[in-house]
């Protein structure tokens, strides 16, 4: 088996994609990271303490995983959805009764969205209580705050799209709050809804925000966020206890 894998990773075709051999030596493992477009967000080596589950709970990574699931299921749902009244609601019914695995698709998208909001909030709390927001990581914390806002807004704009009673009135509560803003409130509501009440224009605007503008904002911010983790010296770790470090050195 191992020989077969080694032979395959030695072929000219494999080498044209990955310009290194099987990742069984430290040299090839290093090349696997820094010759790979997707892996280059990581350093070649990380501190052993940094990858322990109990230190971070992997909350940031799990939020990103939820976002990936949401992208995949969201794109699939877009094939079946028309952002107009009353077709939007009829498409929900089609997902429920006509489309193969339509119920599963919508369920997965909805639960992943709730999970992502919860995980992002938990990620923020853990980051704060670990003290990881402090310099030199202060700007990455600020990016994180805006990513959290993007997450909440994504979930909120998605809430209207099924166009059922729950969606309609939940969003009504939110937009009434926005209207209360001094001076700009009424204009803000008009801009958001494309009218004075939630109707077909509002549905279209929320759809564009949900499927184009906010995901773009989130992806862009997420790239900078992850890149900054590396540039700021990896994730925050409290300074190691001096005695423990020397013990390990001697060992």
């Amino acid at each position: 088996m191992r020989d077969l894998v080694k032979r395959l990773t030695g072929t000219a075709f494999y080498r044209s994609i990955f310009r290194h051999g099987f990742a069984d030596t430290n040299r090839n493992r290093s090349l696997a990271v820094f010759t790979n477009f997707f892996l280059h967000i990581h350093a070649v080596k990380v501190r052993r303490r940094a990858i322990a589950f109990r230190r971070t709970g992997y909350l940031g990574g799990l939020s990103a995983a939820c976002f990936f699931i949401l992208l995949v299921t969201g794109i699939l749902l877009m094939f079946y959805y028309r952002p107009s009244v009353p077709e939007a609601y009829h498409d929900m019914k089609d997902l429920q009764f006509v489309v193969s695995a339509g119920v599963f698709l919508r369920n997965l998208h909805r639960w992943s969205a709730h999970a992502m909001v919860a995980l992002v909030l938990a990620h923020m709390a853990v980051t704060f209580f670990r003290g990881a927001y402090r310099p030199p990581r202060e700007f990455n914390w600020v990016i994180g705050v805006f990513l959290m806002l993007a997450t909440v807004l994504l979930s909120y704009t998605g809430y209207l799209l099924p166009w059922d009673q729950l969606a309609y009135w939940a969003v009504t509560v939110g937009t009434n709050m926005a209207e209360a803003a001094p001076i700009v409130g009424a204009k803000l509501k008009l801009l958001l809804l494309g009218g004075h009440t939630i109707n077909a224009a509002a549905l279209l605007r929320f759809y564009v925000l949900h499927c184009v503008l906010l995901p773009f904002w989130l992806v862009l911010g997420l790239c900078v966020h992850i890149w900054r983790v590396r540039k700021d010296g990896g994730i925050y770790l409290p300074p190691p206890a001096p005695s423990a470090a020397t013990d390990e050195d001697q060992a």
């Binding site: 990742a23 350093a43 052993r48 990858i51 909001v117 806002l149 009673q165 009504t172 709050m177």
Partner: protein, 239 residues
């Protein structure tokens, strides 16, 4: 720049192979330079494998959830028929609960706006990030300042809302009790010394988190028709 150096200057172990090693350390903090010599592992496979496992576990959990629980779908939107109560998504129910006490301009705009500003500036306010234990002579002064501030905030919460804002008052008192033990506690126990080491930023953030949780839980479970107080085990959960 009188702080002790966190890096070593001198020839490296491999001086014979690489005899010239110049390190330039700028005045600002550079975490990569500060990093102590500690055990490292290769990203491939150690980190990558953990990321993969985490992704698979969350995928399986969500798939299992999607197979067992259905997303809600009610009848088609009808602007003429308002459900009672009309509730926002769960992460906004803290704000909606706040609407019960303050007009929308405060609970829907001012307080959330202040919150975002506070979250953004929190790492730039460098007061009291690591708190040195207070000298005995200053303990009394700290306690007086603390309780004067808390009393003011409690009175403001009591009288400004359309009714006393108990979710604010209760959490203020809890946090105040924790801070007081941290300031005045003399026992060498682990709890007291842990409380003693917390910074002001920690207490403010903890208060915010506690209050947001209390408001959200009340909004989700304890509010029924007309935003009246209900008990979830008696009347069920309204949404």
């Amino acid at each position: 720049m009188n702080e002790p150096k966190t890096f070593e200057v001198g020839p490296g172990d491999d001086a014979r192979k690489a005899p010239v090693r110049v390190v330039v350390v700028q005045a600002e903090e550079r975490p990569a330079v500060d990093a102590a010599d500690e055990p490292m592992v290769m990203t491939v496979p150690h980190l990558l494998l953990r990321e993969l496992i985490a992704f698979l576990v969350i995928s399986l959990v969500l798939v299992a959830l999607a197979l067992t629980a259905n997303a809600p779908l009610e009848e088609i939107a009808n602007p003429a028929r308002t459900p009672n109560p009309a509730k926002a998504p769960w992460y906004f129910l803290g704000l909606q609960e706040l609407l019960h006490y303050y007009p929308p301009v405060i609970s829907g705009v001012l307080l959330p706006g202040l919150l975002v500003v506070a979250l953004v500036v929190i790492p730039y306010v460098r007061i009291n990030l690591e708190r040195p234990p207070l000298a005995p002579a200053r303990r009394t002064r700290a306690l007086v300042i603390l309780w004067a501030t808390l009393t003011t905030l409690v009175l403001v919460s009591y009288f400004t809302g359309s009714q006393p804002v108990w979710p604010f008052i209760g959490t203020l008192l809890v946090v105040g009790a924790g801070m007081s033990v941290g300031i005045a506690g003399r026992s060498p126990g682990r709890v007291v010394s842990w409380l003693r080491g917390r910074s002001i930023a920690f207490w403010i953030f903890s208060w915010f988190l506690l209050t947001a949780t209390v408001l959200t839980v009340i909004g989700i479970f304890f509010r029924g028709p007309g935003w009246s107080f209900t008990l979830p085990w008696r009347d069920g959960i309204y949404y």
